[in-house]
Amino acid sequence: MTQPTEITPEIVAEHGLSPEEYERILRALGRTPNLTELGIFSVMWSEHCSYKSSRIHLKKLPTTGPQVICGPGENAGVVDIGDGQAAIFKMESHNHPSYIEPYQGAATGVGGILRDVFTMGARPVANMNALRFGRPDHPKMRHLIAGVVHGIGGYGNCVGVPTVGGEVNFHAAYDGNILVNAMTVGVAETNKIFYSAASGVGNPIVYVGSKTGRDGIHGATMASADFSEDSEEKRPTVQVGDPFTEKLLIEACLELMATDVIVAIQDMGAAGLTSSSVEMASKGGVGIELDMNAVPCRETGMTPYEMMLSESQERMLMVLKPGREAEAEAIFRKWELDFAVIGKVTDTGRMVLRFDGETVCDIPLGPLADEAPLYDRPWVPTAPREPLGPVPAKGSIGDNLLALMASPDLASRRWIWEQYDHMVGADTVQRPGGDAAVVRVHGTKKGIAISTDCTPRYVFADPVEGGAQAIAECWRNITAVGAKPLATTDCMNFGNPQRPEIMGQFVGAIEGMAKACAALDFPIVSGNVSLYNETKNDDGSGSAILPTPAIGGIGLLADIDAMATIAFKAADEHILLIGEDGAHLGQSLWLRHIAGREDGPPPPVDLELEKRNGDFVRELIQNGQVTAVHDISDGGLLVALAEMALAGGIGAHVDDLDHGRAFGEDQARYIVTTAKSDSILAAALTAGVTARRLGTTGGETLAGVPLHKLRDAHEGFFPTLMAN
């Protein structure tokens, strides 16, 4: 071996460890670590892997319920969908890599979240995403948008998992830090779910998938720091994806899972072989010994340090039952994938690595995982916003509508989702463009409704209300297709947690989310935290993103034939508003785009009202009493009506609306259409739900604007932005 590297304070700092954390390592080991050991500590204690700033707050989130089979802590959350079947799902961020190298960053984000789901025994059935970009006219933004969309499509299309929907926002706060959050939903049999806890002393530890290369070394550490001037130089820390190998890995793993040879399985995601082996061993309360000479490597001369820190993609680690290696190997060879026994489970509670006959690492597992640093960072609550007060109208309602429908946050996303194969699997029964995507559970009449939601401008103005709103909107979108909301996954994207105001946003958002999850029986079963989404300014201050707790929720439709869609179905149907008339313009898109202001408090969330109105609408759908349903969110009532009109190609005659009623973003509201409204209005009265008739479907205009003009405005934004 070469001369051991001396661990200097500079090397410690390069590994993103504070002097206090290094002291902690010295205490845990009782000696100085070697470079491999230091590297292992650094990735395990990175914010990305250890959740050291967020853990104490994440504990406040509701994570249980009769529908929950497995909550946070495993590769993904598991929820019962009846008939011995489970939905397994999670959302994860790939923000830092996607800014540095958008195609590969986004592609490997999709690959990583797919692995989290099929690791647990599920066949992935749907991908979703939540994207935030900076100003459309920012010089880098077109390149970033194109790269991210092509990366998501390139990966998802090839693996053959439909990308069925998502959300996109634009705001200057994301100019230097875009967000790419990817979600996968899979379906498994409840008696064939696989977990990651290693067990059985002497059992073989098996490596499968792609070979290990030098890509992605220190990706997790990179994702745990602010961006500065040199972020371009971090390109080599971004991994490179191979969706073809992932597809083979999915099929090979599912084929192996149909046998009974697997004891435990875990994908190699962030921090690669290090975090997968440490997590498997520490969850199982055992030890682990690996022979680094047995690790399949892409190039010669790789050191244990590089092998342990590589984030090469499409790799998995498994513990098999003893003596069953040959059976497993045959399956992976058939799929032309690497298969290597690289170690064994021990009873030492330590991670021991051997290389060229020497012990190159010997660390107790406790300090790496369960006893990793935990911080209660100082935080200050976000100051409440001044009430908005009266805001005068500006221009005509029709012109306002036309401008809003063409605005970046409301324009049609067709340019994006037509680049995603959203139909492969032949079970996509509600395609992108509605309130929630719906994917049929293969071979059944059941449907899984999926939606990703967050309104970052609300969270920025009031983290507590904004956090609650993100949960409520997700619940509402799932309700609006007729599904019963089951559970959520969260992707917490925030700035630098060492700044008390950022930590305050985090704490506030968690408080709001927890309240809403509890009130709506919509627990969080998996998730991910991405901090340090900010860029250092020249003066040393930080430009943080808007706080963005993206929520991915799923719901269950017992019968897809009862599913609702947003499109107007016929002329001369009654249009009903469920919920109060709007008036709240604070933080609305109207205020931003038409009045040119970003102020006031966000719309308050009344969770009791959300539940009452939502339950009422879901029942209408299930009883077949309504022909179209749409929730009212960004842009308010008139924008929702315009989306319904465009989807159906049918206009509407509605009462004249002032700008508050037309564009207020008050919560807990839906629009429904029906051939006969009397019975619905009577039922609403009984249920204590406010409802009124807004007008009638028909004609070729809305608010005096011809539909073809609305359509051109709505469809034009992305193609124009991305042309040539």
Partner: protein
């Protein structure tokens, strides 16, 4: 009669195609791994599915066209066994020389997934007999390399021989003469970019694709 869906590494519409064949004909096809060298006895339909065989890291379909099973497929096609190639399957059949022309990158350079309008140009083949010539149908497309090309002589010949099965009724990918699907000279091999297997029931939004599989009832059932 039996049917078989060929599975290559990277195929991803194999299950969808098998489900469509099973649901319409009542008989599930065999799933045949590409390393096989023989087709089942009494084979009545060979279906080559969509996906990204071998990742399409070389030309789309080029690697799969050299798989062991392809020799048996070429031989069976020569005997008149119906062969249906959809999307990547179409690309594989052109690479294998069973169909003329090639599928290039879409004119717009982007992957395109949407339901498109098609005109049925030939209603005489086993595959299209349940459609009317000139009829408009709507099938989804989902491809990056669907831009059909061939030299003018070849295009004139397949047009003249009535071998264009489906033509796009709207701009989709820049295909020569809007060609979406073609037949071989004997009429027993169909390659097409659109996906009829994705539109066979009401839950799919339309069932225009169903009749294509119904046309195969006699050969498969």
């Amino acid at each position: 009669m039996k049917s078989a869906v060929i599975v290559f590494p990277g195929s991803n519409c194999d299950r969808d195609l098998a489900v469509a064949i099973r649901d319409v004909t009542g008989k599930a096809p065999d799933m045949l791994w590409h390393q096989e060298t023989a087709l089942p006895d009494g084979i009545g339909l060979i279906a080559v599915p969509g996906g990204f065989s071998y990742g399409d890291y070389l030309r789309s379909g080029a690697m799969a066209a050299r798989s062991p099973i392809m020799r048996a497929i070429v031989e069976a096609a020569g005997r008149g066994v119906p062969v249906l190639g959809i999307c990547n399957g179409f690309q594989i059949l052109t690479e294998a020389g069973l169909l003329p022309g090639a599928l290039m990158r879409n004119e717009g350079l982007d992957f395109v997934c949407r339901e498109v309008a098609l005109t049925v140009e030939n209603s005489q083949s086993t595959f299209t007999a349940r459609y009317d010539k000139g009829e408009k149908v709507h099938f989804p497309v989902a491809h990056h390399d669907g831009n059909f090309t061939a030299d003018r002589e070849t295009l004139d010949r397949i047009e003249g021989e009535g071998r264009v099965a489906f033509r796009y009724a709207e701009a989709v990918n820049g295909s020569a003469r809007g060609i979406a699907g073609i037949l071989n000279d004997a009429g027993n091999v169909l390659g097409m970019m659109p996906h009829p297997e994705r539109v066979i029931e009401a839950a799919h939004g339309n069932d225009d694709g169903r009749r294509l599989f119904e046309g195969l009832l006699e050969t498969v059932a």
